[in-house]
Symmetry: C2
Subunit: 241 residues, 2 copies
Amino acid sequence: MTRLEVIPVPGMPEIGRAADLAGLLLDAVAAGHEQLRDHDIVVVTQKVVSKAEGAMAAVDPDDPLSHKPLVERESVRVLRRRGDLVISETRHGFICANAGIDLSNVARGEAALLPDDPDRSARRLRDAIAGRAGVRVGVIVSDTFGRPWRRGVTDVAIGSAGLRPVIDLRGTHDAYGRELQVTEVAVVDEIAGAADLVMGKAAGVPVAIVRGVALDAFLAPDERAGVLDRIVRSPGEDLFR
Amino acid sequence: MTRLEVIPVPGMPEIGRAADLAGLLLDAVAAGHEQLRDHDIVVVTQKVVSKAEGAMAAVDPDDPLSHKPLVERESVRVLRRRGDLVISETRHGFICANAGIDLSNVARGEAALLPDDPDRSARRLRDAIAGRAGVRVGVIVSDTFGRPWRRGVTDVAIGSAGLRPVIDLRGTHDAYGRELQVTEVAVVDEIAGAADLVMGKAAGVPVAIVRGVALDAFLAPDERAGVLDRIVRSPGEDLFR
């Protein structure tokens, strides 16, 4: 059976607007004496994607609450407020704290917003990697979300390309021949969380390679699916909205 | 920087009541030509732990709803019902579907309940591994939970030993010297999800080794913490209960 490897990619430079993210990423991979292979999964944090896409906004560096109007602007619906904390739904359908707006690992006076379409961001990066390096990888754009009922945050996928966001096990059977009850596994979220284990919030490593994920997690070349259409629940099917 | 390895441990036999889980696990590891090392993390699914502890109940194999009275019995509070689906709180404080009762990968006519105290289960396994193999590992008991707002299930930790369930990053700084906003990372859940990527729901691999997790995830020998006290939110701090 295949083991999984999760490989940190340190050495990414500071990412500016319109940076060549694929080129910088491939340089950092090479500098670490590593090489991307077919069926590797490249996980990049939302932060570097937002920086490269210019999804940033100005904030007053001397006012710790100056990003709050941004949170309201980037929210389509507020679910909960407690003190300064806002749990809201973004226009993508993500439900998270502060509409995903983040002040850590960005320059003073700036805030990072979520990418406009994180699945498209992932597809572009995958296509650029295929064009430059000739390898067919999956790409996940990850972000750090809290969750109800359980303390602590975990990294989840907010965008993906080349991957089945959920693997549907309906029709497969367990070791006893019984049809499986649990049918859809959110593999992109498990992969994003695994990548976080080598990135570290403080270490500033925004890229990791996950190698050895089962081949049925990969889409065929002509298939297209992403986090927004496969992971984000519609309000109608959601029991907690 | 350290890479992470996630190693499946196939070859576990069927687990019966009062099975010597640590012994069977060490045998399976050895049969795979692998060896546990200090600071490895052993992830075992709830299913084998429940079987070894006899946390099982009889159900009518010809009635697909015969486990429903068990769900009511094992729930302290029901949050939502839709059709046959019940989302409830267990006496541990977990909020999950069907009170964690599971009919897959168990014998016909049986249902697996959650272990009585999954942190204690993890501690026992860790202590038995230390006694038999002389290695200091972390142990996670994992289970498969759904979540609000996002489709698909992921594996999370329901018990742990030897590990800091959440790593508190307060007081640490990002690459720009700014104090981190995101303060508590639920590493045990990220590790449980990573392990699921090599286990597979259908493959019947109930054990994985996760190697290379940062040393600050491990508890000192005299420290004790688990999922129930560190991950499960109290109702008072929970915005979604």
